[in-house]
């Protein structure tokens, strides 16, 4: 776990809550931080300047998805070639290594599998998570 900041909460629409996390400037491109919001563990990522949040529980077997390696991978190919790409766009679950696209939660190897994502935005310089 990278850190566990106190998340202040603000009321929003019915059933939704906005959680102010920490200043966006504390999460530069390529960085990731795990936050605890209520009873949930959530990974917040800065991928090439855009912020994303993923549930820190892998849809495969519940492992700490967001504590694995932020990485790239071999790109789809029609030949026996290995083209590395997407550096920094993927998270590899800490337990079994399944690859997920950070922005969408989509598992690369199986279209049926997707990790839960949360909307995250920057309000007055603060990262705000909507649950």
């Amino acid at each position: 776990m990278v850190s566990t900041p106190e998340a202040s909460t603000l009321p929003r629409g019915p059933g939704e809550r906005r959680h102010v996390l920490f200043p966006a400037s504390e999460l530069p491109p390529g960085a990731r931080r795990i936050v605890e919001v209520g009873r949930r563990s959530i990974g917040v990522f800065n991928v090439h300047g855009r912020f994303h949040a993923l549930h820190n529980g892998c849809p495969h077997k519940g492992g700490p998805l967001c504590e694995g390696r932020v990485c790239g991978t071999t790109l789809p190919t029609d030949a026996y070639t290995f083209d590395y790409g997407r550096e920094g766009e993927l998270i590899r679950c800490a337990w079994h290594g399944w690859e997920f696209e950070i922005a969408t939660g989509q598992a690369l190897a199986d279209p049926q599998v997707r990790a839960r994502t949360y909307p995250v935005s920057v309000v007055d310089g603060q990262l705000v998570l909507t649950l």
Binding site: T74, D78, W98, L108
Partner: protein, 370 residues
């Protein structure tokens, strides 16, 4: 009804002599063979069946090898069980894969293929042939597939499951390429566990024949995994792998394992687009014999149903071998019967329905129905 594994052979291997290429006839006439002449020149496996591996009642009354007497084959199998089509898989020819000399191996395979087309296929319209190739000579095997693969009686290329390396390996891709070009499935039959080929298991040689025979599914596992992992079914979308006599009960477990490991380590094989089990469902076919026998027979099917095996299984009797499966006593789920006994093979081998031979013994002549 299709029987997808029927073993035909010669009365004596001397019947092959006219078909041996001139350059190799001296090898055939004077070269070493296992045991005493006449014998087929191939390395013999180290596991000897203590009762020989043929049905005792299939030895022709006049002598000779079980599977060499066409009339007896009709009586015991084709007529008795109303077989519409029998896919002949030869007997010893797939053992050419054990020979170190790939050129002699392919010459022997080619001789068998000419013998098959010349002697067996004209006998009966129910008979379809498997083109035997020497996988240790991928270029020669590919040339053989292009030479004879478009014969209307030939339905697949055939190799042994004993191999130097698993069949998805790019070493063998000339064979896959030729199969795709000619439109033939690539079939792998139990056997060839001798000579230059790897052993039947990865932990050293087993001891007894029955022990080894039960373990021979392991080579089928290796070929199945390799063919999927190397992207054969992406590279040649029309290609089909047929595993003959390698068992079926292990297939769901292996596909589940392959799916799970692929999901984690997709990056090793970025040419794949789908889960291993999805490729298997669409591209891999498995013969049923010897059908595994759980204590409760019904418990065989749920796992197979999970991978969609109704679309993947082909009935086979393995006549005239010792582990023969009788179509009369075969137990299949009722709603699987027509697929496993007929339509899966019909689709695989591209034999339209309604073309059953009305006169069974009316032969294919010059490639046309007489």
């Amino acid at each position: 009804m299709f029987d997808c594994d029927v073993h035909n052979t010669w009365g004596t291997v001397e019947e092959l002599r006219p078909y041996i290429a001139p350059a190799f006839r001296e090898w055939f006439d004077r070269g070493e063979v296992p045991g005493t002449r006449p014998a087929f020149p191939a390395a013999h496996r180290a596991w000897l069946h203590p009762e020989d591996f043929k049905r005792a009642d299939a030895v022709p009354p006049g002598g000779g090898n079980a599977g060499s007497d066409y009339e007896l084959m009709c009586e015991q199998l084709l007529d008795r069980h109303q077989v519409d089509y029998a896919v002949l898989t030869g007997d010893e020819p797939i053992e050419v894969s054990t020979l170190a000399n790939p050129y002699y191996a392919q010459a022997l395979a080619s001789a068998y293929n000419d013998y098959l087309v010349d002697v067996w296929l004209p006998r009966d319209r129910r008979l379809r042939g498997s083109l035997v190739v020497a996988p240790q000579d991928p270029q020669g095997a590919a040339a053989e597939i292009r030479r004879l693969g478009d014969h209307p009686g030939i339905v697949q290329a055939l190799v042994s499951s004993g191999a130097q390396r698993p069949y998805g390996d790019p070493f063998y891709h000339p064979i896959w390429d030729a199969c795709a070009e000619v439109g033939l499935p690539f079939a792998v039959h139990l056997g060839g566990n001798a000579g230059i080929n790897g052993g039947p298991t990865g932990c050293g040689p087993p001891t007894f024949f029955w022990e080894t025979h039960a373990l021979l599914c392991e080579t089928g596992m290796g070929h199945l995994a390799s063919t999927i992992a190397h992207g054969v079914f992406e590279k040649w979308p029309s290609s089909r792998l047929v595993l003959i006599e390698c068992g079926i009960a292990w297939v769901p477990a292996l596909l589940w394992r392959l799916d799970e490991d692929y999901r984690a380590l997709r990056k090793e094989t970025p040419w794949l687009r789908r889960l291993p089990s999805e490729y298997a469902h669409d591209h891999v076919r498995l013969t049923t014999q010897p059908l595994e026998q759980p204590r409760d027979r019904e418990s065989l099917w749920p796992a197979l149903a999970d991978i969609g095996a109704r679309d993947m299984l082909l009935f086979a009797s393995d006549y005239p071998h010792w582990d023969f499966e009788s179509p009369a006593t075969l137990q299949l789920p009722v709603d699987w019967r027509s697929a496993v006994l007929d339509t899966n093979a019909r689709e695989l081998y591209r034999i339209p329905s309604g073309e059953e031979p009305t006169q069974a013994k009316e032969a294919l002549v010059d490639g046309q129905h007489a």
